[in-house]
């Protein structure tokens, strides 16, 4: 009985890594698209701060009626637009998370259902071409956790924002950049490298 279960599980693992690979590309792309948005958000916050710190009445602009209010209105509108776009991007990150979670939990479910016919020795066995089932399951779980936590952190960050709180916008844009985890991304790429032969084999 054990042979078909192992084959089936390995097939499912292959599928899961394939989808992880695709999702990783999507994730990276979405994060890249966020970079200009975050920097324009920071820039807008700077403009709003400059506007607040300048006494328009003491400048050559003093003759223009309601200038600070009008400019502020325009800048806040722009902040709104950027936040809207950013929130769409975070939604896209959310669907990457969903897709990875779904795939990974399907693999685990299959593993649990067949755990009787998958002795430890089979699970930890590895070869030159294929990492062990246990390792692969662990990598998948790590990847799933990485996307889950990254998504929640970024979503929370955006939810904290209020357009009239300049200091907050400035901190949030900094935090956004610092959330980027080189290590986390590397780990996923590393896992994908390690399974590359496994994915090509049948």
């Amino acid at each position: 009985m054990s042979q078909p279960a192992v084959l089936q599980l390995r097939q499912e693992l292959r599928k899961c890594f394939q989808s992880l690979k695709e999702n990783q590309t999507v994730w990276k792309g979405v994060l890249e698209e966020c970079t200009p948005l975050v920097s324009s958000l920071r820039n807008l916050a700077e403009q709003l701060r400059a506007l607040k710190s300048v006494e328009i009445a003491n400048t050559p602009l003093c003759t223009f009626p309601n200038l600070p209010e009008r400019l502020q209105h325009k800048l806040l509108n722009a902040v709104d637009t950027v936040l809207g776009e950013l929130s769409e991007k975070v939604d896209a990150l959310g669907s990457v998370r969903d897709s990875v979670s779904k795939q990974v939990s399907a693999v685990f479910q299959m593993y649990e259902q067949n755990s009787d016919s998958l002795p430890i020795s089979t699970c930890v066995a590895r070869s030159a071409l294929s990492p062990s089932i246990a390792d692969m399951l662990e990598w998948l779980q790590d990847a799933e956790r990485f996307y889950r936590i990254q998504y929640i952190q970024r979503r929370n960050l955006l939810q904290q924002l209020k357009p009239d709180d300049l200091a907050l916008i400035e901190t949030v844009t900094k935090t956004w950049t610092s959330l980027y985890s080189h290590k986390g991304e590397e780990q996923i790429s590393g896992a994908l490298l390690q399974v590359s032969f496994f994915m090509e084999s049948d």
Partner: protein, 211 residues
Amino acid sequence: MDDATTPGRKGNLTGSARKVKDNAADWHNLILKWERLSDEGSSIATKIVNFRLSKDRSVKDPEVMMEGQISSAAPEERRAYHSNPELEEECTKLQNIVDKMAHILSKMEKMVSSEKGICELETFQYGENGRPTPLFHTWSTKQFAEVSSGLYEAYKQELALKSTILQEVAHTTNPDLCMVYLSCWLYQPYIQDNTKLLLESLLMETGYRAV
């Protein structure tokens, strides 16, 4: 003249309707041109500000160091401070942009006065209440004149703002004020959303946009 009262029949508009419709198209084109110039000017203004700010920094730094070292660096910096052909060139470019915008504004002004003229003509032809049926869909001729002058006022104020920025931007050392100049230039505070709405309604009324 009756043809003119039928909306949607292109090509055979005459008289006031022809003029009003042409003006609407001109509004659209002039505003597009304006936006292009404004974008172009925005990047030039940013360059000017960066010049100013970085120059300030580079002039201040050697001055701090000058106490220890007397020699070569300082005079060079001085010269850079007194005349900077690159900065001047950018200022000239910005001046050109503002001049072009002023030209656009003068065209806008002509349209406003021509529409005022059309209104006066109608008062003369039909009396105080104007023509019995609208030129296009629903607007009275007076409304066209009002929209035109509303748009004109917004752009007039904006040009005044941009001219002020042009005069001041290269002479300001306060980085915050520089930033405010740049945001004013870019975000055009006197062109509000309702300005765009006015333009769109004008285009819709005259049949350029589908209702």
